[in-house]
Protein backbone atom coordinates (compact mmCIF):
# COMPACT_ATOMS: atom_id res chain seq x y z
CA UNK A 1 0.00 0.00 0.00
CA UNK A 2 2.78 2.42 1.00
CA UNK A 3 4.61 1.53 -2.20
CA UNK A 4 1.59 2.47 -4.32
CA UNK A 5 1.13 5.73 -2.42
CA UNK A 6 4.82 6.54 -2.89
CA UNK A 7 4.59 5.78 -6.62
CA UNK A 8 1.44 7.91 -6.89
CA UNK A 9 3.12 10.77 -5.02
CA UNK A 10 6.22 10.55 -7.20
CA UNK A 11 4.14 10.48 -10.40
CA UNK A 12 2.15 13.51 -9.20
CA UNK A 13 5.31 15.44 -8.35
CA UNK A 14 6.88 14.52 -11.71
CA UNK A 15 3.77 15.67 -13.56
CA UNK A 16 3.58 18.94 -11.61
CA UNK A 17 7.25 19.67 -12.13
CA UNK A 18 6.89 18.88 -15.84
CA UNK A 19 3.93 21.26 -16.14
CA UNK A 20 5.94 23.92 -14.28
CA UNK A 21 8.93 23.48 -16.60
CA UNK A 22 6.64 23.60 -19.65
CA UNK A 23 5.03 26.83 -18.38
CA UNK A 24 8.39 28.54 -17.77
CA UNK A 25 9.60 27.28 -21.14
CA UNK A 26 6.59 28.84 -22.89
CA UNK A 27 6.97 32.18 -21.12
CA UNK A 28 10.73 32.34 -21.80
CA UNK A 29 10.44 31.45 -25.48
CA UNK A 30 7.26 33.20 -26.59
CA UNK A 31 8.47 36.64 -25.53
CA UNK A 32 11.69 36.44 -27.55
CA UNK A 33 11.38 39.55 -29.66
CA UNK A 34 11.80 38.88 -33.38
CA UNK A 35 14.93 40.43 -34.91
CA UNK A 36 15.70 40.60 -38.65
CA UNK A 37 17.60 37.32 -38.28
CA UNK A 38 14.68 35.92 -36.24
CA UNK A 39 12.27 36.86 -39.02
CA UNK A 40 14.26 34.78 -41.53
CA UNK A 41 14.30 31.83 -39.13
CA UNK A 42 10.54 32.19 -38.63
CA UNK A 43 9.98 32.30 -42.40
CA UNK A 44 12.00 29.12 -42.82
CA UNK A 45 9.90 27.43 -40.14
CA UNK A 46 6.69 28.70 -41.75
CA UNK A 47 7.78 26.75 -44.81
CA UNK A 48 8.68 23.63 -42.82
CA UNK A 49 5.72 23.68 -40.46
CA UNK A 50 3.06 25.37 -42.58
CA UNK A 51 3.71 25.07 -46.32
CA UNK A 52 4.77 21.44 -46.07
CA UNK A 53 1.50 20.61 -44.28
CA UNK A 54 -0.65 22.12 -47.05
CA UNK A 55 -0.84 18.93 -49.15
CA UNK A 56 -2.17 16.75 -46.32
CA UNK A 57 -4.64 19.48 -45.30
CA UNK A 58 -5.89 19.90 -48.88
CA UNK A 59 -6.50 16.20 -49.39
CA UNK A 60 -8.09 15.68 -45.96
CA UNK A 61 -10.27 18.78 -46.26
CA UNK A 62 -11.51 17.71 -49.68
CA UNK A 63 -12.48 14.21 -48.54
CA UNK A 64 -14.06 15.36 -45.29
CA UNK A 65 -16.17 17.91 -47.19
CA UNK A 66 -17.21 15.24 -49.69
CA UNK A 67 -18.13 12.71 -46.99
CA UNK A 68 -20.00 15.37 -45.04
CA UNK A 69 -22.08 16.26 -48.10
CA UNK A 70 -22.79 12.61 -48.86
CA UNK A 71 -23.89 11.77 -45.31
CA UNK A 72 -25.74 15.06 -44.88
CA UNK A 73 -27.63 14.62 -48.14
CA UNK A 74 -28.88 11.12 -47.23
CA UNK A 75 -30.28 12.49 -43.93
CA UNK A 76 -31.58 15.86 -45.17
CA UNK A 77 -33.29 14.46 -48.26
CA UNK A 78 -35.53 12.37 -45.98
CA UNK A 79 -36.95 15.62 -44.56
CA UNK A 80 -37.04 17.32 -47.94
CA UNK A 81 -34.39 19.71 -46.67
CA UNK A 82 -31.59 18.95 -49.11
CA UNK A 83 -31.30 22.70 -49.93
CA UNK A 84 -29.86 23.10 -46.42
CA UNK A 85 -26.86 20.98 -47.40
CA UNK A 86 -24.58 24.00 -47.92
CA UNK A 87 -25.52 25.33 -44.48
CA UNK A 88 -24.81 21.98 -42.82
CA UNK A 89 -21.47 21.47 -44.56
CA UNK A 90 -20.29 25.02 -43.91
CA UNK A 91 -21.32 25.19 -40.25
CA UNK A 92 -19.86 21.76 -39.46
CA UNK A 93 -16.59 22.70 -41.09
CA UNK A 94 -16.23 26.27 -39.89
CA UNK A 95 -17.25 25.67 -36.28
CA UNK A 96 -15.78 22.23 -35.61
CA UNK A 97 -14.21 20.04 -38.24
CA UNK A 98 -11.79 22.49 -39.86
CA UNK A 99 -10.13 23.69 -36.62
CA UNK A 100 -10.14 20.26 -34.95
CA UNK A 101 -9.13 18.00 -37.84
CA UNK A 102 -6.54 20.48 -39.14
CA UNK A 103 -5.05 20.62 -35.63
CA UNK A 104 -4.98 16.81 -35.34
CA UNK A 105 -3.31 16.52 -38.75
CA UNK A 106 -0.91 19.30 -37.79
CA UNK A 107 0.02 17.46 -34.57
CA UNK A 108 0.72 14.29 -36.53
CA UNK A 109 2.68 15.90 -39.38
CA UNK A 110 4.39 19.00 -38.05
CA UNK A 111 4.25 18.36 -34.28
CA UNK A 112 5.98 15.01 -34.41
CA UNK A 113 8.59 16.38 -36.84
CA UNK A 114 9.32 19.34 -34.54
CA UNK A 115 9.79 17.07 -31.53
CA UNK A 116 12.08 14.70 -33.43
CA UNK A 117 14.10 17.57 -34.91
CA UNK A 118 14.69 19.39 -31.62
CA UNK A 119 15.25 16.06 -29.83
CA UNK A 120 17.92 15.04 -32.32
CA UNK A 121 19.58 18.44 -31.93
CA UNK A 122 19.67 17.81 -28.19
CA UNK A 123 20.98 14.25 -28.56
CA UNK A 124 23.80 15.41 -30.86
CA UNK A 125 24.70 18.27 -28.46
CA UNK A 126 23.78 20.93 -31.04
CA UNK A 127 21.65 22.79 -28.48
CA UNK A 128 24.45 22.66 -25.92
CA UNK A 129 27.02 23.87 -28.43
CA UNK A 130 24.68 26.71 -29.37
CA UNK A 131 24.47 27.71 -25.70
CA UNK A 132 28.25 27.59 -25.43
CA UNK A 133 28.59 29.83 -28.49
CA UNK A 134 26.50 32.32 -26.54
CA UNK A 135 23.27 31.83 -28.46
CA UNK A 136 20.07 31.10 -26.56
CA UNK A 137 18.41 28.03 -28.16
CA UNK A 138 15.05 29.23 -26.85
CA UNK A 139 15.41 32.33 -28.98
CA UNK A 140 16.99 30.75 -32.04
CA UNK A 141 15.45 27.27 -32.20
CA UNK A 142 12.26 27.26 -30.12
CA UNK A 143 10.74 30.74 -30.62
CA UNK A 144 10.67 30.67 -34.47
CA UNK A 145 9.03 27.22 -34.41
CA UNK A 146 6.51 28.22 -31.76
CA UNK A 147 5.47 31.33 -33.67
CA UNK A 148 5.42 29.47 -36.99
CA UNK A 149 2.99 26.91 -35.55
CA UNK A 150 0.86 29.60 -33.94
CA UNK A 151 0.54 31.51 -37.23
CA UNK A 152 0.36 28.65 -39.70
CA UNK A 153 -2.39 26.52 -38.13
CA UNK A 154 -5.12 29.18 -38.54
CA UNK A 155 -4.08 29.56 -42.20
CA UNK A 156 -4.18 25.78 -42.67
CA UNK A 157 -7.61 25.77 -41.00
CA UNK A 158 -8.92 28.33 -43.52
CA UNK A 159 -7.54 26.21 -46.37
CA UNK A 160 -9.14 23.11 -44.87
CA UNK A 161 -12.54 24.84 -44.56
CA UNK A 162 -12.50 26.31 -48.07
CA UNK A 163 -11.48 23.04 -49.71
CA UNK A 164 -14.02 21.13 -47.57
CA UNK A 165 -16.86 23.41 -48.67
CA UNK A 166 -15.75 22.94 -52.28
CA UNK A 167 -15.65 19.14 -51.74
CA UNK A 168 -19.19 19.35 -50.37
CA UNK A 169 -20.20 21.31 -53.47
CA UNK A 170 -18.67 18.67 -55.77
CA UNK A 171 -20.62 15.85 -54.16
CA UNK A 172 -23.83 17.72 -53.25
CA UNK A 173 -24.30 19.86 -56.36
CA UNK A 174 -22.29 18.21 -59.13
CA UNK A 175 -22.99 14.60 -58.21
CA UNK A 176 -26.23 14.44 -56.16
CA UNK A 177 -27.96 17.29 -57.96
CA UNK A 178 -28.67 19.78 -55.15
CA UNK A 179 -29.46 23.19 -56.66
CA UNK A 180 -26.24 25.26 -56.66
CA UNK A 181 -28.08 28.49 -55.78
CA UNK A 182 -29.58 27.04 -52.60
CA UNK A 183 -26.23 25.43 -51.63
CA UNK A 184 -24.47 28.81 -51.65
CA UNK A 185 -27.32 31.09 -50.53
CA UNK A 186 -28.29 28.95 -47.51
CA UNK A 187 -24.64 28.93 -46.52
CA UNK A 188 -24.43 32.70 -46.89
CA UNK A 189 -27.60 33.24 -44.81
CA UNK A 190 -26.68 30.94 -41.94
CA UNK A 191 -22.93 31.38 -41.47
CA UNK A 192 -22.24 34.40 -39.29
CA UNK A 193 -18.79 35.89 -39.56
CA UNK A 194 -18.37 36.73 -35.87
CA UNK A 195 -20.21 33.78 -34.31
CA UNK A 196 -18.94 31.07 -36.61
CA UNK A 197 -15.89 32.07 -38.65
CA UNK A 198 -14.19 34.14 -35.97
CA UNK A 199 -14.89 31.58 -33.24
CA UNK A 200 -13.43 28.87 -35.47
CA UNK A 201 -10.34 31.03 -35.95
CA UNK A 202 -10.01 31.58 -32.20
CA UNK A 203 -10.12 27.82 -31.74
CA UNK A 204 -7.41 27.26 -34.33
CA UNK A 205 -5.21 29.95 -32.75
CA UNK A 206 -5.51 28.21 -29.37
CA UNK A 207 -4.87 24.79 -30.94
CA UNK A 208 -1.87 26.16 -32.89
CA UNK A 209 -0.28 27.49 -29.72
CA UNK A 210 -1.00 24.38 -27.64
CA UNK A 211 0.05 21.80 -30.25
CA UNK A 212 3.30 23.61 -31.09
CA UNK A 213 4.04 24.24 -27.42
CA UNK A 214 3.64 20.55 -26.62
CA UNK A 215 5.78 19.58 -29.64
CA UNK A 216 8.71 21.91 -28.96
CA UNK A 217 8.66 21.28 -25.21
CA UNK A 218 8.66 17.51 -25.65
CA UNK A 219 11.64 17.85 -28.01
CA UNK A 220 13.53 20.19 -25.67
CA UNK A 221 12.84 18.23 -22.49
CA UNK A 222 13.38 14.67 -23.72
CA UNK A 223 16.02 12.20 -22.58
CA UNK A 224 18.62 12.46 -25.36
CA UNK A 225 18.67 8.83 -26.52
CA UNK A 226 17.04 7.12 -29.49
CA UNK A 227 14.44 5.64 -27.16
CA UNK A 228 13.87 9.05 -25.57
CA UNK A 229 13.24 10.64 -28.98
CA UNK A 230 10.82 7.88 -29.95
CA UNK A 231 8.85 8.22 -26.69
CA UNK A 232 8.75 12.01 -26.88
CA UNK A 233 7.49 11.93 -30.48
CA UNK A 234 4.70 9.56 -29.48
CA UNK A 235 3.89 11.73 -26.46
CA UNK A 236 3.62 14.80 -28.69
CA UNK A 237 1.00 13.19 -30.93
CA UNK A 238 -0.98 11.70 -28.02
CA UNK A 239 -0.89 14.76 -25.70
CA UNK A 240 -1.52 17.20 -28.54
CA UNK A 241 -4.48 15.21 -29.90
CA UNK A 242 -6.04 14.85 -26.45
CA UNK A 243 -5.44 18.53 -25.70
CA UNK A 244 -7.09 19.55 -28.97
CA UNK A 245 -10.17 17.39 -28.33
CA UNK A 246 -10.48 18.46 -24.69
CA UNK A 247 -9.95 22.16 -25.41
CA UNK A 248 -12.41 21.94 -28.30
CA UNK A 249 -15.16 20.95 -25.88
CA UNK A 250 -14.23 23.73 -23.45
CA UNK A 251 -14.06 26.37 -26.18
CA UNK A 252 -17.29 25.15 -27.80
CA UNK A 253 -19.06 25.31 -24.43
CA UNK A 254 -17.78 28.87 -23.90
CA UNK A 255 -18.61 30.05 -27.42
CA UNK A 256 -21.86 28.26 -28.19
CA UNK A 257 -23.00 26.95 -24.79
CA UNK A 258 -25.59 29.70 -24.21
CA UNK A 259 -27.15 29.57 -27.69
CA UNK A 260 -29.79 27.08 -26.66
Amino acid sequence: MTRYLTALGRATLDTLSSIGRAGLFLVQSIFCLPSREGFHLWLRQMHFVGVMSVAIVLVSGLFIGMVLALQGFTILVGFGADEALGQMVALSLVRELAPVVAALLFAGRAGSALTAEIGLMKATEQLTSMEMIGVDPLRRIVAPRLWAGFVSLPILTVIFGVVGIWGGYLVGVEWLGVYAGSYWSNMQDSVNFFDDVLNGMVKSLVFGLVVTWIAVFQGYDLIPTSEGISRATTRTVVYASLAVLGLDFVLTALMFGDLG
Binding site: T124, E125, T128, S129, M130, M132, I133, G134, V135
Partner: protein, 271 residues
Amino acid sequence: MDDPIMVEVKDLHFSRGNTDIFRGVDLQIPLGKITAIMGPSGTGKTTLLKLIGGQLAPDRGQILIDGQDVHKLSRRSLFKLRRRMGMLFQSGALFSDLDVFENVAFPLRIHTELPNAMIRDIVLMKLQAVGLRGARHLMPSELSGGMARRVALARAVALDPDLVLYDEPFVGQDPISMGVLVQLIKKVNLALGLTAIVVSHDIKETLSIADYVYIIADGRVMAHGTPQTLDVNDDAHVKQFVHGEPDGPVPFHYPAPDFFDDILAPAGQFS
Protein backbone atom coordinates in the same frame (compact mmCIF):
# COMPACT_ATOMS: atom_id res chain seq x y z
CA MET B 1 51.66 28.01 -9.75
CA ASP B 2 52.63 31.66 -10.10
CA ASP B 3 50.79 32.36 -13.35
CA PRO B 4 47.68 34.55 -13.22
CA ILE B 5 44.51 32.49 -12.82
CA MET B 6 41.83 32.39 -15.52
CA VAL B 7 39.42 29.86 -13.98
CA GLU B 8 39.13 29.06 -10.30
CA VAL B 9 36.99 26.26 -8.89
CA LYS B 10 36.44 26.48 -5.13
CA ASP B 11 35.04 23.71 -2.94
CA LEU B 12 32.82 22.34 -5.72
CA HIS B 13 30.08 19.92 -4.65
CA PHE B 14 27.73 18.37 -7.19
CA SER B 15 25.48 15.34 -7.08
CA ARG B 16 23.06 13.58 -9.40
CA GLY B 17 20.23 11.84 -7.58
CA ASN B 18 21.88 10.06 -4.67
CA THR B 19 25.30 9.90 -6.33
CA ASP B 20 27.94 12.43 -5.31
CA ILE B 21 29.93 13.39 -8.40
CA PHE B 22 32.13 16.03 -6.76
CA ARG B 23 32.85 16.33 -3.04
CA GLY B 24 34.92 19.44 -2.61
CA VAL B 25 36.97 19.96 -5.79
CA ASP B 26 39.42 22.86 -5.94
CA LEU B 27 41.15 23.77 -9.21
CA GLN B 28 43.12 26.69 -10.54
CA ILE B 29 43.46 27.02 -14.30
CA PRO B 30 46.36 29.31 -15.23
CA LEU B 31 45.99 31.96 -17.92
CA GLY B 32 47.40 31.15 -21.35
CA LYS B 33 48.29 27.54 -20.50
CA ILE B 34 46.90 24.13 -21.41
CA THR B 35 45.52 22.46 -18.30
CA ALA B 36 44.47 18.83 -18.52
CA ILE B 37 41.76 17.37 -16.31
CA MET B 38 42.13 13.61 -16.31
CA GLY B 39 40.62 10.67 -14.56
CA PRO B 40 39.00 7.32 -15.14
CA SER B 41 35.73 7.14 -17.14
CA GLY B 42 32.68 8.15 -15.15
CA THR B 43 34.47 10.48 -12.73
CA GLY B 44 32.54 13.50 -13.98
CA LYS B 45 35.10 15.20 -16.21
CA THR B 46 32.53 16.26 -18.79
CA THR B 47 30.21 17.29 -15.95
CA LEU B 48 32.99 19.55 -14.68
CA LEU B 49 33.21 21.25 -18.09
CA LYS B 50 29.44 21.74 -18.07
CA LEU B 51 29.70 23.30 -14.61
CA ILE B 52 32.49 25.61 -15.81
CA GLY B 53 30.39 26.56 -18.86
CA GLY B 54 27.39 27.31 -16.62
CA GLN B 55 25.19 24.60 -18.13
CA LEU B 56 24.89 22.91 -14.76
CA ALA B 57 24.73 24.54 -11.33
CA PRO B 58 26.76 23.20 -8.39
CA ASP B 59 25.15 22.17 -5.10
CA ARG B 60 27.83 24.11 -3.26
CA GLY B 61 31.01 25.99 -4.11
CA GLN B 62 32.01 28.56 -6.68
CA ILE B 63 33.40 28.69 -10.19
CA LEU B 64 35.07 31.96 -11.10
CA ILE B 65 36.03 32.82 -14.65
CA ASP B 66 38.15 35.94 -14.84
CA GLY B 67 36.80 36.84 -11.41
CA GLN B 68 33.10 36.42 -12.34
CA ASP B 69 31.05 33.83 -10.46
CA VAL B 70 29.54 31.85 -13.34
CA HIS B 71 26.50 30.70 -11.38
CA LYS B 72 25.57 34.11 -10.02
CA LEU B 73 25.35 35.70 -13.48
CA SER B 74 22.01 36.51 -15.08
CA ARG B 75 21.08 34.49 -18.19
CA ARG B 76 22.07 37.45 -20.38
CA SER B 77 25.43 37.98 -18.63
CA LEU B 78 26.15 34.25 -18.80
CA PHE B 79 25.60 34.24 -22.57
CA LYS B 80 27.84 37.32 -22.81
CA LEU B 81 30.57 35.50 -20.87
CA ARG B 82 30.21 32.46 -23.11
CA ARG B 83 31.13 34.61 -26.12
CA ARG B 84 34.64 34.65 -24.64
CA MET B 85 34.65 30.86 -24.46
CA GLY B 86 34.88 28.15 -27.09
CA MET B 87 34.04 24.52 -26.56
CA LEU B 88 35.00 21.47 -28.57
CA PHE B 89 32.45 18.73 -27.97
CA GLN B 90 33.19 15.03 -27.97
CA SER B 91 30.76 14.54 -30.88
CA GLY B 92 31.78 17.74 -32.67
CA ALA B 93 28.16 18.97 -32.27
CA LEU B 94 28.18 20.65 -35.69
CA PHE B 95 24.85 22.12 -36.79
CA SER B 96 23.49 19.51 -39.15
CA ASP B 97 21.54 21.98 -41.32
CA LEU B 98 24.61 24.13 -42.10
CA ASP B 99 27.61 23.24 -44.24
CA VAL B 100 31.21 23.37 -42.96
CA PHE B 101 31.69 27.01 -43.97
CA GLU B 102 28.46 28.19 -42.32
CA ASN B 103 29.20 26.19 -39.16
CA VAL B 104 32.47 28.07 -38.70
CA ALA B 105 30.88 31.36 -39.76
CA PHE B 106 27.98 30.92 -37.29
CA PRO B 107 29.56 32.57 -34.21
CA LEU B 108 30.91 35.41 -36.38
CA ARG B 109 27.52 36.10 -37.95
CA ILE B 110 25.83 36.03 -34.55
CA HIS B 111 28.25 38.08 -32.50
CA THR B 112 29.90 40.48 -34.94
CA GLU B 113 28.77 43.05 -37.49
CA LEU B 114 31.60 42.14 -39.87
CA PRO B 115 30.89 42.36 -43.61
CA ASN B 116 30.47 39.10 -45.50
CA ALA B 117 33.82 39.45 -47.27
CA MET B 118 35.66 39.66 -43.96
CA ILE B 119 33.71 36.77 -42.46
CA ARG B 120 34.65 34.72 -45.52
CA ASP B 121 38.35 35.54 -45.05
CA ILE B 122 38.29 34.67 -41.34
CA VAL B 123 36.44 31.39 -41.93
CA LEU B 124 38.87 30.38 -44.68
CA MET B 125 41.82 31.19 -42.40
CA LYS B 126 40.37 29.05 -39.61
CA LEU B 127 39.61 26.20 -42.00
CA GLN B 128 43.10 26.49 -43.50
CA ALA B 129 44.53 26.16 -39.96
CA VAL B 130 42.71 22.87 -39.44
CA GLY B 131 43.45 21.69 -43.00
CA LEU B 132 39.84 21.65 -44.21
CA ARG B 133 39.57 24.71 -46.44
CA GLY B 134 38.82 22.37 -49.32
CA ALA B 135 35.92 20.79 -47.41
CA ARG B 136 34.05 24.05 -46.85
CA HIS B 137 31.04 23.02 -48.96
CA LEU B 138 30.55 19.62 -47.33
CA MET B 139 27.68 18.97 -44.96
CA PRO B 140 28.44 17.55 -41.46
CA SER B 141 26.94 14.20 -42.50
CA GLU B 142 29.63 13.92 -45.20
CA LEU B 143 32.54 14.32 -42.75
CA SER B 144 34.51 11.61 -40.97
CA GLY B 145 34.68 11.76 -37.15
CA GLY B 146 38.16 13.31 -37.24
CA MET B 147 37.17 15.91 -39.84
CA ALA B 148 34.04 16.84 -37.86
CA ARG B 149 36.14 17.45 -34.78
CA ARG B 150 38.60 19.61 -36.74
CA VAL B 151 35.71 21.70 -38.11
CA ALA B 152 34.36 21.96 -34.56
CA LEU B 153 37.80 23.18 -33.44
CA ALA B 154 37.79 25.83 -36.18
CA ARG B 155 34.31 26.92 -35.00
CA ALA B 156 35.37 26.92 -31.33
CA VAL B 157 38.20 29.39 -32.06
CA ALA B 158 36.35 31.42 -34.71
CA LEU B 159 35.85 34.36 -32.35
CA ASP B 160 39.41 34.10 -30.94
CA PRO B 161 38.10 33.24 -27.47
CA ASP B 162 40.05 33.68 -24.22
CA LEU B 163 39.19 30.19 -22.98
CA VAL B 164 38.64 26.94 -24.89
CA LEU B 165 37.19 23.81 -23.29
CA TYR B 166 38.04 20.51 -24.99
CA ASP B 167 35.78 17.59 -24.09
CA GLU B 168 37.54 14.28 -24.82
CA PRO B 169 39.07 15.56 -28.07
CA PHE B 170 40.94 12.32 -28.85
CA VAL B 171 38.20 9.75 -28.25
CA GLY B 172 37.51 7.40 -31.16
CA GLN B 173 40.17 8.88 -33.45
CA ASP B 174 42.48 6.91 -35.70
CA PRO B 175 46.22 7.49 -35.01
CA ILE B 176 46.61 10.01 -37.84
CA SER B 177 43.57 12.11 -36.80
CA MET B 178 44.68 11.89 -33.19
CA GLY B 179 48.17 13.15 -34.06
CA VAL B 180 46.65 15.97 -36.11
CA LEU B 181 44.35 17.01 -33.24
CA VAL B 182 47.18 16.94 -30.68
CA GLN B 183 49.25 19.21 -32.92
CA LEU B 184 46.33 21.50 -33.64
CA ILE B 185 45.40 22.01 -30.00
CA LYS B 186 48.99 22.89 -29.16
CA LYS B 187 49.40 25.14 -32.22
CA VAL B 188 46.11 26.97 -31.63
CA ASN B 189 47.05 27.53 -28.00
CA LEU B 190 50.44 28.96 -28.90
CA ALA B 191 49.20 31.03 -31.84
CA LEU B 192 46.22 32.62 -30.06
CA GLY B 193 47.67 32.64 -26.54
CA LEU B 194 44.41 31.29 -25.16
CA THR B 195 43.72 29.33 -22.02
CA ALA B 196 42.76 25.71 -22.66
CA ILE B 197 41.15 23.07 -20.48
CA VAL B 198 41.47 19.59 -21.94
CA VAL B 199 39.31 16.88 -20.42
CA SER B 200 40.61 13.50 -21.44
CA HIS B 201 41.68 10.05 -20.37
CA ASP B 202 44.13 9.59 -23.24
CA ILE B 203 47.23 9.85 -21.11
CA LYS B 204 50.06 9.91 -23.64
CA GLU B 205 48.49 12.46 -25.98
CA THR B 206 47.23 14.72 -23.21
CA LEU B 207 50.45 14.73 -21.19
CA SER B 208 52.40 15.56 -24.36
CA ILE B 209 50.65 18.96 -24.72
CA ALA B 210 49.55 19.85 -21.16
CA ASP B 211 51.36 22.40 -19.06
CA TYR B 212 49.58 21.34 -15.89
CA VAL B 213 47.47 18.32 -14.99
CA TYR B 214 44.73 17.59 -12.46
CA ILE B 215 43.72 13.97 -11.87
CA ILE B 216 40.21 13.54 -10.50
CA ALA B 217 38.80 10.39 -8.91
CA ASP B 218 36.15 9.63 -6.30
CA GLY B 219 34.79 13.15 -6.48
CA ARG B 220 38.05 14.82 -5.44
CA VAL B 221 41.30 16.02 -6.92
CA MET B 222 43.56 13.03 -6.40
CA ALA B 223 46.77 14.65 -7.64
CA HIS B 224 47.97 17.65 -9.59
CA GLY B 225 51.21 18.89 -11.02
CA THR B 226 53.17 19.15 -14.21
CA PRO B 227 53.26 16.05 -16.48
CA GLN B 228 56.84 15.39 -15.33
CA THR B 229 56.00 15.39 -11.60
CA LEU B 230 52.96 13.14 -12.12
CA ASP B 231 55.02 10.63 -14.09
CA VAL B 232 57.19 9.97 -11.02
CA ASN B 233 54.36 10.24 -8.46
CA ASP B 234 54.35 7.29 -6.02
CA ASP B 235 50.67 7.39 -5.05
CA ALA B 236 49.01 4.07 -5.97
CA HIS B 237 45.99 5.76 -7.60
CA VAL B 238 48.15 8.08 -9.68
CA LYS B 239 50.53 5.27 -10.69
CA GLN B 240 47.65 3.04 -11.76
CA PHE B 241 46.09 5.77 -13.86
CA VAL B 242 49.20 7.32 -15.39
CA HIS B 243 50.73 3.94 -16.26
CA GLY B 244 47.44 2.36 -17.32
CA GLU B 245 47.57 -0.63 -14.93
CA PRO B 246 44.39 -2.76 -15.21
CA ASP B 247 44.08 -3.48 -11.47
CA GLY B 248 44.93 -1.42 -8.43
CA PRO B 249 43.07 0.95 -6.14
CA VAL B 250 40.50 1.28 -8.95
CA PRO B 251 39.41 -2.38 -9.12
CA PHE B 252 39.02 -4.27 -12.39
CA HIS B 253 35.77 -5.87 -11.16
CA TYR B 254 32.51 -4.08 -10.58
CA PRO B 255 31.42 -4.78 -6.97
CA ALA B 256 29.83 -8.26 -6.82
CA PRO B 257 29.34 -11.15 -4.36
CA ASP B 258 32.09 -13.75 -4.05
CA PHE B 259 32.70 -15.46 -7.40
CA PHE B 260 32.57 -19.05 -6.06
CA ASP B 261 29.45 -18.39 -3.98
CA ASP B 262 27.86 -16.96 -7.11
CA ILE B 263 28.84 -19.93 -9.30
CA LEU B 264 27.80 -22.54 -6.73
CA ALA B 265 24.52 -20.88 -5.81
CA PRO B 266 21.64 -23.42 -5.97
CA ALA B 267 19.14 -23.12 -8.80
CA GLY B 268 16.39 -20.65 -7.98
CA GLN B 269 18.79 -18.30 -6.21
CA PHE B 270 20.13 -16.77 -9.42
CA SER B 271 19.79 -13.03 -9.45
